[in-house]
Symmetry: C2
Amino acid sequence: MASGMKDVASLAGVAVGTVSNVLNHPDLVRPLTRARVEAAMEELGFIPNGSARQLRAGRSRCLGLVVLDVTNPFFTEVARGVEDYAQAAGYAVILCNSDEAGDKERRYLRVLEEQRVRGILITPVHGRAPELRRIRDRGTPVVLLDRPGSAGQCSVAVDDRLGGEIAVTHLLSLGHRRITLVNGPGTIRQCADRRRGAFRAVERAGLDPAEVIGEVIVPAMNARAGAAAADELIGHQPATTAVFCANDMLALGLLRRLGQAGVMVPGDLAVVGYDDIEFAADAAVPLTSVRQPKYQLGRAAAELLLDEADRPADHEHRRSVFTPELVVRASSGPCPDRAQDVSGPVQDAAASPGPSRDLVPG
Amino acid sequence: MASGMKDVASLAGVAVGTVSNVLNHPDLVRPLTRARVEAAMEELGFIPNGSARQLRAGRSRCLGLVVLDVTNPFFTEVARGVEDYAQAAGYAVILCNSDEAGDKERRYLRVLEEQRVRGILITPVHGRAPELRRIRDRGTPVVLLDRPGSAGQCSVAVDDRLGGEIAVTHLLSLGHRRITLVNGPGTIRQCADRRRGAFRAVERAGLDPAEVIGEVIVPAMNARAGAAAADELIGHQPATTAVFCANDMLALGLLRRLGQAGVMVPGDLAVVGYDDIEFAADAAVPLTSVRQPKYQLGRAAAELLLDEADRPADHEHRRSVFTPELVVRASSGPCPDRAQDVSGPVQDAAASPGPSRDLVPG
DNA sequence: CTCAGTGAATGGAACGTTTCAATTGGGTTG
DNA sequence: CAACCCAATTGAAACGTTCCATTCACTGAG
């Protein structure tokens, strides 16, 4: 059924080498011959065999992208950035979902290596990933996504410490003095850094982190976990007046559960998220969040990867770090007890569907 | 750098055939020998070459999944269903984003065919896709996703006509008599069917569709297009009291713009979406929507595909059709002029963060 | 002691390309 | 007219596997 170059060649009355040339070096073959070959291809419905091609060439036209959660709009936006750049450069992207699970991640990395992808873009599940080093050593370029890599490796990231800091600084400026961090495990670098930033913000304000910051550690960075965190918060953290969630999925899940429990946001509790996914702005209480340049992140990562893959000679490892910015919306209001020092967002933007413009402080 | 079976063989002191057997038929090789070979593999960091493997075998362990928009949570949920099933069956999934663009779709299909993927799952951009038939004819199984296929082909879908019907029936029962459809182009089968269902609902209610239904056709099924539709609506459709959006992304974009323009939902305008994506429930005005079993859809599709791929002999083409269900939330309220005949959702659920339970009519 | 039988390992053909050195057949030059 | 050159084409080796028909070394039966 599937016909090969041999069939095309004999139908067109040429040698297989010529067929190959039509495909890869059209300028080398006489227009008339080329036309004959192309006609034969058309007639037979010939589709070149990628496996054979890349077996011979030693490299494929595919890239691997491993993300923590395809369901999280943050990652799909990143993926789109990667895809657009790759597409333009003639590469296809294999999108893999590690689901925050180490073994799934390992399995996918294996598949990608077997496929001899041109390179791998990954947001690793665990902090240290020795296998990534091994993969590099075996010759597959790896670019770390959303994480500042160690030396000898490209990476693209957003300054998460700064992100955590501006989020918590914002809450402090609203008068909050009891802030709970809803965060993933410290083994995830982003989580650890956002937390560090939060602590730094408190210290810079001349306060004691031990008194100001409470913590809830969640096992996954999704809405379900956010809802669970809300339960814990409602039960055990009555003193808290503000919550900083390590991403928007957590924040949205938390918001939903708070709503169901009758907790007013931001009246009873202020909430700040992270990522600024598209849906954050549309939430029941529009979510204050720390925006990351998602699309650019993906694009930049793909660019680094392909540069390394296509010009290994003059490639220099780079660590791009983007800067996050705070987007203030209705979910973060002043602390109920100290409503004095505030020039924050309009309170009732939450309840009435009036115009709600995003405020991006310079 | 990358070592092959030959290297492993010579290091272990065996023939390449034996190495191959360790990999594919471990039971055929003496435990001692096997151990030696495995040690050699470990030492060399040997990763089998997938290209060579599938060149020889003629088939790969990859599946292609082509969706209209990775950014739409509907598709990521479907993708997750596909992925879980594929993973369990030992397959990897290449996720491609056609972006509702015919040429991107074509390009990806080409890549997938060249890679000799084991099969393709696709939500096609255009209604008739003759190339899909050609792909089938060349031997790659194709399963249509979210679309009832023609005969001689598997497909998995949700009854979109029914979905459109229950959505509009719901609006009619709330007293609405001027309903606007915000819909994608009729070339997309889902859009055409949802529209058909909407018309049927009106006819079944003994009303004249020409009088009841207005239409806004959008060029894409995303939030941006939804917002644009809202503008059009505000400007030109003053008589409309309800809107049925062909998916939730449109509805969310529309809701946002309506909010900015000061239009009250559901007071001034009722809104119903489609898909029931996770974020629909969390929207500023929780969105009434037609729920599709997304995950199951993906799973079922993958199952059909792999059945066809792995047992072509006794495979029978099937057309699975799932049933959608209406999820009523705050965004659909009674028509302001005829508030009498209503036992609908609580109005103020939109403004106050009280408990909002989903109502799923049997 | 021989011979079939068995389990384990071997070696080479084949998969469909790409690449490259070799060949062909005009056309140009001296 | 020989010598040469260039563009176009050819044919075969190589890529790293899998598959299969062989070979090999034993074992137990006759």
